[in-house]
Subunit: 334 residues, 2 copies
């Protein structure tokens, strides 16, 4: 039995760092254990111009100062000119598309997506990946599956554009991964652990509430199998999304699970209990390095067997599965 795991350059390919005090709280918690990660641009207002991007980069650099961590920046998808994209290309790793402009499979939805084609064509030419929150505005359990046709359409229309289906939650999305060479995906920790039953099947649990919502048992199985087998087109993306407790335990609860500080330890538990510890390195690092063409930071994280309890809180943020005991803890980061 292995008692020590060394992970080289773990990457978190989907993180919400927020701004201000929350950024200062959570960014170091990712920067401590991860070698880098993709920082999402959905702030208010969104990161969609050079000045906002430069300021956000400065704020993040300041928050992760002293850590061996590379923030991979993104901007919020809208129609951009070739001049702008050429200018910004060196500062970002990808552009993130949210479904406001690409909502359904209906004629209107397709038309909107086609309005984005000029920008997507330039991104394809410049080699800028497209990250997508792929949900329609349909019934909550159907939203991801309804969007898969749009992924398929985009992947066919732009065969050289790298398209990442972010935080996939369904068996159908896993299947689609193998249909188009240029379709990739991230999956979160929570979607490997929970189904809708853990959100509303017993008592309702706001700290298990995220978007896309956790789906059916067979969906969780498909995601878990893809992660455990280190599917080469799938990377870990925590979608770690902190909210203050008063926005969660509330009459109107915000969507998001906070997982980044203990994601590696938790994943080690999951991979070990399924006999797939050997695939963890590929799932949390190698796949991302290859697919996103990342450079090593020569960072290593050493996990050792030993009880680690997920804290009740980080500041004013209650994490996913607070109080749960894990079987792996971090011994050293170097």
């Amino acid at each position: 039995m292995t008692d020590r795991i060394i992970i080289k350059d773990p990457f978190d390919m989907h993180i919400h760092f927020r701004e201000g005090e929350m950024l200062d709280l959570v960014a170091p918690l990712s920067a401590e254990t991860f070698s880098g990660g993709i920082i999402m641009p959905n702030l208010v207002p969104p990161v969609d111009n050079i000045e906002r991007l430069d300021n956000y980069i400065s704020e993040i650099d300041n928050a992760v100062k002293g850590y061996n961590f590379t923030p991979f920046m993104t901007i919020f998808f809208k129609k951009y000119s070739r001049e702008f994209l050429e200018l910004v290309k060196g500062k970002i790793r990808a552009i993130k598309l949210y479904p406001a402009g690409a909502t359904t499979n209906s004629d209107e939805g397709i038309k909107e997506i086609e309005d984005a084609f000029d920008t997507l064509r330039i991104m394809e030419e410049l080699g800028i990946p497209l990250l997508v929150h792929g949900e329609t505005h349909g019934f909550v359990m159907d939203r991801e599956q309804e969007f898969l046709g749009i992924y398929d359409h985009l992947a066919t229309e732009f065969p050289k554009l790298m398209i990442v289906m972010e935080h996939i939650t369904t068996a159908a999305a896993v299947e689609l991964l193998d249909k188009n060479d240029n379709l990739f995906a991230t999956v979160t920790l929570q979607h490997l652990c929970i189904t809708l039953d853990d959100v509303i099947g017993g008592l309702m649990q706001p700290h298990n509430f995220c978007k896309p919502i956790a789906k059916r048992p067979e969906d969780k199985s498909a995601l878990l199998n893809a992660a455990l087998s280190a599917h080469p087109k799938l990377s870990f993306g925590s979608d770690s999304a902190p909210h203050p407790i008063d926005k969660k335990e509330s009459a109107y609860c915000s969507a998001g699970c906070f997982t980044s500080p203990f994601a590696l330890q938790y994943l080690a538990d999951i991979f070990e209990s399924n006999g797939k510890l050997d695939n963890l390195q590929r799932f949390v690092s190698d796949n991302a390095m290859i697919n996103y063409n990342l450079s090593s930071n020569n960072k290593t994280v050493t996990l050792v067997r030993g009880e680690y309890t997920i804290p009740e809180k980080y500041g004013n943020v209650v994490p996913f599965n607070s109080g749960k005991k894990l079987n792996w803890k971090i011994e050293e980061v170097s």
Copy 2:
């Protein structure tokens, strides 16, 4: 356009009155506008013996003193002797079965249901209706549908036993109503109003969280159509289930929507906006009187057109859709 509706003897065929302070808070709110209602026995410990029943009857009588309201008592289903059932028959209107003992379609589930057959046979002979919380322990969105086979089995096995499918939430349950003469159903206010989208489709809303969980849009449509057409085997049962606010806006939120104080006004809105105001009397009274063989209390509730806002709170209970404006208000109860 009608500006006044007179409802004669409105009945709420599924209520949770609780005990102690909560009973004192909520029982008068039902007793004010309803002529009577079925009081559920799922207290801790459950109402399953004469002493507990007698005490609960006294407590309720005390809480609704001065109101023209008949509480129809129930006991918690377990194996009961003929002697006990003959003794208790005059004090109760029905027996309520919860799925702990009848959980799945699996062999074990069926075996457990068959363990209940002796008691059900006596109930059939004595004319005591069986009320059922019909959910398996399966995936949350499938639980009711998975239970329908058990309803079908019971209805066939005990053709003279009145069986009520409580708080139905699916189109499939509505369909089953027409298959067996001795199957009846109740439906809540909230299941005529919301789908799962209103629970977790936007921000998560604990005050819309109940069991069985609200289902798909097509399920809501089927329930609404059955209610609006005053399906003769369907009665209104609010399942009004108060919880203190700290049990709702919480890391572990209790299931239940509190609706009884404004259910009639809200139903008037729904029936009017769908052009079916003429069917409201049957849905909230006549069907129940016929199917459960109830006597009139000669109570009338007069609703008049006029803005009524659902209160933010009743004591420490936040009601369903607090703050919503309704178009009907109660003018007089006599």
